[in-house]
């Protein structure tokens, strides 16, 4: 279909400046390191990072897999908890008044401080890492979903009531679909934050993962490998973000364009 092809071409064209900027940045980086003769343990050149990664790629791959598992589990947990929680908060003023302060408390605690406590309490396994990831990721998702559920135009609610819709019907047939663009806004933030959460947890208590790789590499001044982990983490965040965007475009095509007309107020 010509319009679809045209659209793809337009999207490619829109992404072009970003690619040029990224490639230009790496070239400037490489050039600066070579020109000024910066030592590798201070700032490795991109080529050095690449060489270091390729040399031990099975190890890097294993660490990446370990982090990805934590990220995905934590992200899934945050989705499973946030959506029902948001519905609960949006459904009643009393529940919202009871839960919101608690949520804010969980957000004001630095997760880096919480991680060692959780690891002592729950053991050095996957569980505390997933919990830390979840704690970092779930809050923006709850806030965005609640905002979406409450942003439904009052006329739409009135229409539902005029059609004698009950509260459950109102939530499922009107409020929830209306909140979809907001939910996806929250999901994108949560996806990016999940990566942050997983690395924070790995810094404190893990024997695998990219966070662990960064720490052990730096302990031996193997800076290129640490940089390699950082780059992989960035790519992981971008891929997750794009995956969520793509899911939105496929499942809710009306929503991806609606974002412009209904910006999340959170």
């Amino acid at each position: 279909m010509p319009p679809a092809r045209h659209e793809r071409l337009a999207r490619l064209k829109a992404a072009l400046p970003a690619w040029i900027a990224v490639i230009g940045l790496f070239l400037a980086w490489e050039g600066a390191v070579r020109f000024f003769g910066i030592r590798e343990f201070l700032l490795p050149a991109p080529s050095a990072i690449w060489t270091a990664t390729v040399a031990v790629w099975p190890t890097v791959l294993a660490h990446t897999g370990s982090t990805l598992l934590t990220v995905l589990l934590g992200f899934t947990a945050s989705v499973l908890v946030s959506l029902p929680l948001a519905m609960l908060i949006a459904s009643s003023r009393a529940i919202s008044a009871a839960i919101y302060p608690l949520l804010v408390v969980t957000q004001s605690i630095p997760k880096v401080a919480l991680a060692p406590i959780l690891i002592v309490a729950l053991g050095a396994n996957e569980v505390p890492r997933v919990i830390v990831t979840f704690l970092v990721a779930f809050f923006p998702l709850v806030v965005a979903t609640v905002a979406g559920l409450l942003a439904t135009p009052p006329e739409l609610i009135e229409l539902g009531r005029a059609c004698r819709a009950g509260r459950v019907q109102e939530l499922l047939r009107i409020r929830l679909p209306f909140a979809v663009p907001f939910v996806f806004g929250g999901l994108k933030v949560a996806a990016a934050l999940s990566v942050v959460g997983a690395v924070v947890a790995e810094f404190v208590g893990a024997d695998a993962g990219l966070g662990y790789l960064i720490q052990t590499s730096m302990a031996f001044f193997r800076t290129p490998l640490a940089f390699s982990a950082v780059v992989i983490l960035a790519i992981m965040g971008i891929v997750l973000f794009q995956a969520v965007s793509m899911l939105e475009r496929i499942l809710f095509p009306w929503s991806s364009g609606a974002e412009n007309s209904a910006p999340p107020s959170a």
Binding site: R161, A162, C163, R164, S255, A258, S261
Partner: protein, 256 residues
């Protein structure tokens, strides 16, 4: 068919003070009659509509349809709002059938009826478009079709053309009359356009603000089908002037 009997409505304002929106409003609307309500902002027109829809309860007095009190929304009334308030995720056809699906009143021929209705409203071929792909006038047409598909005996319209430009507005008024003529349900139409009220209605109810009261009921004795050509007639001018005098005369007296 619907009777408002000595309606009073008092709201509690945001600052806790009581605001009297309606006082002692009584009127009857007959089967198939087109009644317009005109008045300045804050005269309780929309509140009256919501009372008729059973969305809000009266503080005193009551609304009854065929003698039975209106305490909650009923199947025989349908409402059109100032904004089209379409579901952004549903296409035109599913928007039009949404109330019936919500009320589980879907019949095998509902979809055919919806398509036919959309065609008479000039929306043939747009059934699978999303609301955001339509112009404001087209969206409001969809909203009117959505109300008409419920086959209401009483259609409540809250400034349905208020958000449209003047040209679209005239076009839509004539179209509404055409749709109404084919069905003949009672219509209660809130507006603040005097010509619109005179053009559309059999009777124009004039209300004054704070608290909302009925100050006059103007019978419009113009033959149907109506058109904007009638705007030049003596009867049209007589009605419009009488309504204007009530609304602006009131204001001039207060300013003096």
């Amino acid at each position: 068919m619907i009777r408002f009997e000595r309606i009073g409505k008092t709201f509690r304002g945001r600052d806790g003070a009581a605001v009297e929106a309606l006082r002692d409003v009584s009127m009857d609307i007959a089967e198939g009659e087109f009644v317009a309500i005109v008045g300045a902002s804050g005269c309780g027109k929309s509140t009256l509509l919501r009372l008729a829809a059973g969305l809000v309860p009266a503080s005193s007095g009551g609304v009854s349809i065929d003698g039975s009190a209106v305490t909650s929304p009923r199947a025989e009334t349908a409402m059109v709002f100032q904004a089209a308030t379409l579901l952004p995720w549903a296409d035109v056809l599913r928007n039009v059938t949404f109330p019936l699906r919500l009320m589980k009143r879907i019949a095998p021929d509902t979809e055919d009826k919806a398509r036919a209705l959309l065609a008479t409203a000039g929306l043939a071929g747009f059934e699978s478009r999303l609301p955001r792909e339509l112009s404001g006038g087209m969206q409001q047409r969809v909203a009117i079709c959505r109300a008409l598909l419920q086959e209401p005996r009483l259609l409540l319209m809250d400034e349905p053309f208020g958000a449209l430009d003047a040209l679209t507005r005239e076009e839509m008024s004539i179209e509404l009359l055409r749709l109404w003529a084919a069905r003949r349900m009672a219509v209660l139409f809130v507006t603040h356009s005097i010509p619109e009220a005179v053009l559309l209605a059999d009777r124009v109810v004039v209300m004054s603000p704070r608290p909302g009261r009925i100050v006059d009921v103007v019978e419009v004795n113009l033959p149907r089908p109506r058109s904007f050509d009638q705007e030049g007639t003596d009867e049209f001018q007589r009605c419009a002037r009488r309504i204007r005098d009530h609304i602006f005369g009131n204001r001039a007296a207060r300013a003096a």
